[in-house]
Symmetry: C2
Amino acid sequence: MKNIEEYCKDKNIKLTPVRHKVLELLQNEKSGLGAYRILDLLREAGFNSQPPVAYRALDFLVEHGFVHKIESQNSFVACTDPGVHHSPVFMICKKCESVSEAPTFETASNISDALMATGFNVEQTIIEAEGVCSTCSEQ
Amino acid sequence: MKNIEEYCKDKNIKLTPVRHKVLELLQNEKSGLGAYRILDLLREAGFNSQPPVAYRALDFLVEHGFVHKIESQNSFVACTDPGVHHSPVFMICKKCESVSEAPTFETASNISDALMATGFNVEQTIIEAEGVCSTCSEQ
DNA sequence: AAACCTCATGATATAATATAACATTACATA
DNA sequence: TATGTAATGTTATATTATATCATGAGGTTT
């Protein structure tokens, strides 16, 4: 969080209270949070709680790479490596519902390369793996 | 389609009229279709048009691998290789909106392997690439 | 044939996710 | 001060998806 605050100050990006709060909420969660769950938590924290409030904050955070959207869940998670451009790969545990970002693999960019070779010009990849995390597997 | 019809007959899977129609609609489209767009098309074709009708048909088709869901669009596309178990990789063109299924790459299963190596037990992968297709790139 | 089971469909309502549109405020700076 | 830009407030509505209970269609058992 400190890093992000500095990054924003440096780049003159406005991490306003509501944006800061949403980011904080996401950083405190291992699972993805839906926009309306975030909205509830904002309300509890004393913020205005109309849907656009949450969606705007999320748009901002996603746009700046501080948060990722998990497409298969319509949920959001904090980025574990903000500021560094990357193609995230997510591991979604169906037992404990944790969502974790895999350390960047060559294989992620290999997919892009393979698709590029077919003539398709990749701009962004969405990669989400569903399964059981190591902790849950051990039990 | 013929193949799927035979496959269903063989396995005693019921490809009812509404399911058949939804599959046909998707096979005639290069883009993904949303459930409510499908619903409209069903209505035009004289079918009952309440939401559960479309969702049930889609659930069935997805379950049997005849159709895939495009998570980043909440849309659906016909599978280009039905009956064969695979981890699809989609290429989504943001110009012409076409969605095409990439020929199966080693790299898709490499991702699984790499994640498995970290202890995460992959059961399913969702891989969607956004960009510009070869046809649109040439223009 | 009657009773029964299972799966599919019909029908209504509502939940969950997301955005459009326009008004207002806050702050930087010309 | 006034003017521009970005952020926030506010209301309404669009879009996507599911819960629930009723009805029907087709086999299977007795």
